[in-house]
């Protein structure tokens, strides 16, 4: 298990994760929970359904979790989507979602490689 490497390779901040969670074991456990959870899937499902209120709620939730896990690329994308849907606007966020999908895939791959 190499948590530090995981963060380096996905462009997250290992130091921030460590500051919050204090040790690698907890960071690893929380990352596994994140990968096994449905917070990203929920966001995609909401966007596909054009339910912008649900998009806002899901991206807001993802923003919080990603922030705490110091998954900076996810955090930034989730923040962007949150702000874009704050007022239920039917904004076109295809680019952001494509980027998020890519990032999430990378995270899953790197998690398998370094942590799982």
């Amino acid at each position: 298990m190499d948590v530090k490497k995981f963060y380096e390779e996905i462009g997250g901040s290992y130091q921030d994760a460590l500051n919050i969670m204090m040790n690698d074991a907890l960071i690893a456990r929380m990352l596994t929970k994140f990968i096994g959870g449905d917070s990203v899937d929920k966001l995609f499902a909401a966007y596909e359904a054009k339910d912008y209120r649900a998009v806002f709620a899901a991206s807001h939730a993802l923003k919080g979790v990603a922030g705490n896990l110091a998954l900076s690329p996810v955090f930034q994308l989730a923040s962007k989507i949150t702000e874009a849907t704050r007022n239920d606007d039917g904004a076109n966020l295809d680019a952001e979602f494509a980027e998020l999908k890519k990032t999430y895939e990378l995270i899953k791959a790197k998690h398998r490689e370094h942590i799982a």
Partner: protein, 577 residues
């Protein structure tokens, strides 16, 4: 590792924080399990952690109340929104006692949450864990300090300021509103102890709460604060009000809701325009004295403090303080009001009523009207009466030796004495130790004393009478006893109240009343005495209508010992009786 080192530091700090040696309970509310887990990990070393995954679950835990929760860390966006929880908390005093911190990554909702009464925020992503722990601890401490202060400064039942904090906040009120003229008001439930005893604490507490409600209502309409003294006494410090006459009625009505069949009355003492430089303690003391001037009865129940009343009260206190020395030094002097038999060819000295005068080196001549009622209030009268009986017995003994006669003396016995268990034995002791025959000693008891508590008093008077003393009803006619009741009263002599004698000249009907009283006394085989006889007309009327004895300025004013002895010498020795 840096973070482990910080954790160690925290442990040491915790160990030194005495008041946190018991782990406080923190409830984390967030629908994101990861957030809950992370926060829980941060906090679990220092706190007992409870978790809820939406607002509804959180409220259930909080309202179940089987665990004392010291702090809530609340997410906002959840299936049951955090703001809904905050709204419910605002309406719930129990929940308001628990501090709430909102965990959010959203700056936009901070203001809204502040308006909903949230105490602090924790930013998402979470900051340094030590800061989070410190923040949670600080907030819990603040709340605990606040609730301890609340417990200390407030009276438990009514939640009003206790007397110490009332005084403190009254001063603060002065400082904050220097331009407002203020009154201090003392509100007291009459006979509160008795209510407590007769109807129980629970009932008495209910009454106190009704009063608190009414007073809170009163104070909400003017600037002011309320305090609770011990028992049934409240204090109010508020913006000056023109009058407080309506307040007792309002309070009575408020209390009536709980106590339909019980008459609860109030005493209200008002100190208007309180000088802020005056210690609050002094103001409250003065109000207590002012309230004491009101009786426990219905009628007048608002008294306003005045400097004159305060001076009079202080003078009373001085008189009470001076009493023991005055008694010891003989400042109380016996005066003798001669009584004359008037049915013979000319008036003949038969006896005298003993009066008491206080000639004080400090206060000069103190009026009996002033000190007798005062000493009756506090029981000192018993000592004074004992002194008078003792002195009277000594004089009678000496007169027998010097003039060959026991000149009978009437001694006024205050009603307060009648409740003392050893009274009769003491009187017998004083009289017997001077070898005075008991029948030469008349005990004067006012008609009102007889009538007001006849059940308790009559057996005592019977006892005195059966011991050989003569009983004289004083001030007859002023106590409104029915003539029927008179037949049951044990007495030998009936003294008509001087008001009748004085009123005879103005109102001829009074003459008829006096005649009737004389006849009544005769029927009951009692001797009739008229007091306050000042004119020849009064004298002639009483003589013609069969009154046995008179006293008053017409024949003699009250005499000091020496002059009375000269009178005895003249009447009994010179005239050869």
């Amino acid at each position: 590792m840096k973070n482990n080192h910080m954790t160690e530091e925290r442990k040491i700090r915790n160990a030194n924080r005495g008041n946190f040696f018991i782990k406080r309970t923190v409830l984390i509310v967030d629908d994101e399990e990861i957030n809950v887990e992370i926060l829980s990990t941060i906090l679990e070393e220092d706190f007992h952690v409870l978790k809820a995954y939406d607002g509804k679950e959180a409220l259930e835990l909080l309202q179940k109340g089987d665990q004392k929760i010291d702090m809530v860390l609340l997410d906002v966006f959840m299936p049951f929104d955090g703001r809904e929880v905050l709204k419910i908390r605002q309406e719930n005093p129990e929940l308001k006692r628990i501090p709430f911190i909102v965990c959010t990554s959203d700056k936009n909702i901070e203001e809204e949450c502040f308006h909903l009464g949230v105490n602090d925020f924790i930013k998402k992503p979470y900051e340094n864990p030590d800061i989070i722990v410190a923040r949670v601890k600080r907030m819990i401490e603040l709340y605990e300090d606040r609730s301890i202060l609340k417990e200390v400064e407030r009276e438990k039942l009514t939640n009003l300021y206790n007397i110490d904090f009332f005084k403190k906040y009254a001063k603060q009120f002065d400082a904050n509103f220097p331009d407002i003229e203020k009154d201090m008001v003392l509100i007291s439930v009459n006979r509160f102890r008795l209510i407590n005893e007769l109807y129980g604490h629970e009932f008495a507490d209910k009454i106190l709460l009704s009063i608190t409600g009414e007073l809170t209502d009163f104070v909400s309409k003017c600037k002011g604060l309320l305090g609770k003294e011990s028992g049934g006494t409240f204090l109010l410090y508020c913006e000056h009000q023109e009058d407080y006459e309506a307040l007792p009625k309002k309070l009575e009505e408020a209390v009536k809701k709980d106590a339909k069949d019980i008459n609860v009355s109030f005493k209200i003492a008002v100190y208007p325009f309180v000088d802020p430089s005056l210690e609050k303690e002094i103001v409250i003391d003065r109000l207590s004295n002012t309230a004491d001037t009101l009786t426990n009865d219905y009628g007048k129940n608002v008294a306003v403090y005045s400097q004159e009343a305060q001076t009079a009260n202080l003078h009373k206190e001085e008189l009470i303080a001076a009493f023991p020395e005055a008694l010891k030094e003989g400042q109380f002097q016996l005066y003798f009001q001669p009584k004359y038999e008037i049915q013979g060819a000319k008036p003949r000295l038969t006896s005298a009523e003993v009066l008491i005068r206080w000639i004080s080196p400090k206060f000069g001549f103190v009026s009996p009207g002033e000190f007798i009622s005062l000493f009756e209030e506090n029981g000192l009268i018993c000592q004074l009466d004992a002194y008078i009986i003792q002195k009277a017995a000594e004089h009678m003994k000496r007169w027998k030796r010097d003039y060959g006669e026991y000149v009978p003396l009437s001694i006024n016995l205050s009603r307060v004495n009648l409740y003392r268990p050893n009274l009769v034995e003491e009187i017998i002791g004083y009289i017997s130790s001077n070898d005075v025959p008991r029948e030469k000693c008349y005990i004067e008891i006012t008609e009102s004393a007889f009538v007001e508590d006849a059940k308790a008093v009559i057996p005592v008077i019977n006892h005195i009478r059966e011991s050989g003393f003569k009983i004289e009803i004083d001030d007859f006619g002023s106590g409104y006893s029915s003539f029927g009741a008179l037949a049951d009263l044990p007495f030998d002599i009936l003294k008509i109240d001087m008001q009748f004698i004085r009123a005879m000249e103005k109102n001829p009907k009074v003459k008829d009343i006096v005649k009737m009283i004389i006849n009544l006394a005769k029927t009951l085989n009692a001797t009739v005495v008229s007091e306050g006889v000042e004119t020849k007309e009064q004298y002639d009327f009483l003589q013609e209508n069969g009154c046995d004895i008179i006293q008053g300025y017409y024949l003699s004013k009250p005499l000091p010992l020496k002059e009375f002895e000269e009178l005895i010498q003249k009447e009994f020795v010179t005239h050869g009786r």
